[in-house]
């Protein structure tokens, strides 16, 4: 996968797409942009293919049928069916000798199906801004749980701390209405990042600014008291999220309906299964449109039907354009379905930041 080709005679060509995510019926303008080279010196052959299989060489026939040799300028591509397209432009010299090709991925959604939000322009309003955020934990080499131990150690000058950098100079900007993914292996600092964004942790260095209301789904059941009934917990959790009382009164039935737990409302939460708790927590957090929804591995607890329902709800919120979604998941396909941009954090360092397909592709190749 390469979107830039370095030419032998010096200079390079970069493939520009007017959009990387469209619906069936929309058009995409494909433009090869040259740097330090003359566009008129080349010929182009445009090829597209659905859902890969390039490696197996199953695309040969599409070249003949759908390839469009174009002398110059850009090419308008109007896909007829939904799917994941690879757009390839073969660059040839005037004699028709192949110099190489440049490729880009393009997601085409069905007419009514969910389409992940477009990558916003640079001047769109900011929802979350992480500016050079670092998080350092002092891990006490010994745990002092009593004054006596502490003072003895202090007197002996044995108070040593091991520094642990959970996040190291992370910077990114999430625009309003974006669906932003965070990926990374276990213990790489994703949840720490989310906690900083949620305002639970303060970064050791750097700044974070968040505009708007936050519905954090960092760990399900936070703020639930297992002894209280589900109904009482809905009010308690609603209060902690900052909801108005009359708002909860009004939307109580919506929450119950979404969680599909009618008839269990007067049961103490300790008798609930973890999946049922997850349903309630998700229903409360998404009953209205928060400005920022933080989803951290929450969907994995529920059964597959509820997971689908949650995904649908998240997509609804994304499509409303008002909600900024921050998603952490080990299910990369979920990230690919929902997010427009992804940040890959590995062992506290920012490994990659960019459009979903690019980052996920790279992350996948790490796993193998």
């Amino acid at each position: 996968m390469q979107d830039t080709l370095n030419l032998d005679g010096g200079g390079s060509v970069f493939l520009g797409l007017s959009s990387t995510s469209i619906r069936v019926g929309d058009k995409v303008v494909v433009t090869p942009n040259f740097r330090d080279a003359n566009k008129e010196d080349f010929l182009f052959n445009y090829v597209w293919n659905i859902d890969g299989n390039w490696e197996e060489g199953q695309w040969g026939s599409t070249v003949k049928e759908l390839g469009h040799p174009v002398a110059d300028g850009s090419w308008t591509f109007a896909p007829e069916s939904p799917g994941r397209y690879c757009i390839i432009v073969d660059i040839e010299d005037q004699q028709g000798n192949l110099l190489g090709n440049v490729e880009r991925w393009l997601i085409v959604a069905g007419q009514n199906s969910f389409m992940r939000p477009p990558v916003p322009p640079a001047d769109a309003p900011t929802a979350v801004l992480a500016d050079d955020v670092s998080m350092i934990f002092n891990i006490a080499s010994e745990q002092f749980n009593s004054l006596k131990e502490y003072f003895i150690a202090a007197a002996k000058h044995e108070l040593t701390f091991k520094e642990f950098r959970a996040l190291d100079h992370i910077s990114f900007e999430v625009k309003r209405g974006e669906a932003f993914g965070l990926v990374g292996t276990n213990g790489s600092g994703k949840s720490t990042m989310l906690k900083i964004i949620a305002g639970v942790l303060e970064p050791s260095a750097g700044k974070i600014s968040v505009s708007g209301t936050i519905a954090p789904l960092i760990e399900l059941g936070a703020g639930f008291d297992m002894e209280l009934t589900a109904k009482e917990n809905i009010y308690l959790n609603g209060a902690l999220l900052g909801y108005r009382k009359d708002f909860i009164d009004e939307h109580f039935q919506d929450i119950v309906d979404f969680a599909e737990l009618d008839g269990f409302m007067d049961m103490p939460l300790k008798n609930y299964s973890s999946g049922m708790v997850a349903r309630i927590a998700f229903a409360i957090a998404t009953v209205t449109e928060p400005d920022i929804l933080i989803v951290d591995e929450t969907l994995s607890v529920g059964d597959f039907l509820f997971q689908q329902k949650c995904e649908r709800r998240i997509k609804e919120l994304v499509e409303s354009d008002n909600v900024t979604v921050l998603l952490v998941s080990h299910d990369i396909s979920l990230v690919e379905r929902i997010c427009d941009r992804v940040c890959w954090i590995e062992k506290g360092h920012m490994r990659m930041l960019g459009e979903t397909d690019e980052v996920c592709e790279a992350y996948r190749s790490l796993k193998r």
Binding site: N145, L147, T213, G223, A239, R244, F247, F258, T286
Partner: protein, 294 residues
């Protein structure tokens, strides 16, 4: 034939379902007014937390909230029997009332500081995940002890009937004492909850301290005994003792229907202010680091 119509029917049913779907109120999607403005949400949180504590305290007990009235009453009866017969304190006028007024005042103090001290540690799972103002937890414990106090006032009323003490206008000053006591407890709870995060030893130490403090305060023994303490230093300490002042304030207004001495009122005000200032300062200075220790 049948196999041909079936899918068509299904499609029709699906189409009907889809058509009716938008009509059902699934979720409101344009509720800008769902949230309290940042400053106002704490009140609702406090209310919900007090409700939670209240429900949990009396859940699955047959008499429920009646225990809030019964408990101080029974305690008073036991203590008044013990101290009247064994220690001969029954020369105190209206001894049962003398006892119960001091006891419920002390109870507010010990309940709220005990629970307040643990409040941040107990709220750890929540504080790690949701952004909430941390001061609400110690403050909530003090408010909850106030709720219990209000119920136990019924017990005081019962004892007043029994003792034949008529209510007087002077009692209207008692709420002032309670408000000052609330401030005193809030300050101390903030202070203790912040310290307890860093040094758990305090939890064990505090119960011993409370016991010593209780015996040093004239709850069941006569106030006049302070004069008999041989050391002037200890006597001063006992008069300065904030709980002595709060208890005296309550007794003078409720039991004896007299204006408490101005030194007592002044002490209550000063203690409330000092405690609040200290608690606020220590809490604010350390609350950012709580998350790293809980």
């Amino acid at each position: 034939m049948a196999s041909n119509t079936e899918p068509a029917e299904k499609d029709a049913a699906l189409a009907a379902q889809e058509a009716s779907a938008p009509a059902t109120p699934v979720h409101t999607t344009s509720a800008r007014d769902a949230w309290y403005p940042a400053g106002k949400r704490d009140l609702f949180i406090l209310r919900e937390l007090v409700t939670k504590d209240f429900k949990l305290k009396y859940r699955r007990s047959v008499l429920g909230v009646i225990w809030s009235v019964l408990n101080p009453l029974l305690m008073m009866i036991v203590m008044s029997l013990v101290f009247s017969f064994f220690l001969r304190y029954d020369n105190i006028e209206h001894y049962p009332l003398y006892l119960i007024v001091a006891n419920i005042t002390w109870q507010v103090f010990s309940d709220s500081t005990n629970a307040g001290m643990m409040s941040i540690i107990d709220a750890a799972p929540l504080l790690k995940k949701v952004r909430v103002k941390k001061f609400v937890f110690p403050v909530e414990k003090v408010l909850f002890s106030l709720v219990n106090f209000l119920f136990s006032l019924i017990a005081v009323f019962v004892v007043m009937l029994w003792e034949g003490v008529a209510p007087t206008p002077m009692m209207l000053l008692a709420p002032l004492c309670i408000i000052l006591l609330m401030f005193f407890c809030v300050g101390l709870s903030l202070f203790l909850s912040a310290l307890a995060v860093f040094f758990r030893d305090l939890v064990h130490l505090w119960s011993v301290l409370l016991m010593a403090w209780m015996y040093a305060t004239p709850l069941f023994w006569p106030v006049s005994m302070i004069e008999q303490v041989p050391y002037a230093f200890v006597r001063t300490l006992m008069y300065v003792n904030p709980m002595y002042n709060f208890v005296t304030f309550m007794r003078d207004t409720v039991v004896y229907a007299t204006m408490p001495p101005s030194s007592v009122v002044l002490s209550c005000v000063v203690w409330a202010a000092v405690s609040l200032a200290l608690g606020y300062w220590v809490f604010r200075a350390n609350e950012r680091r709580f998350i790293l220790f809980i």
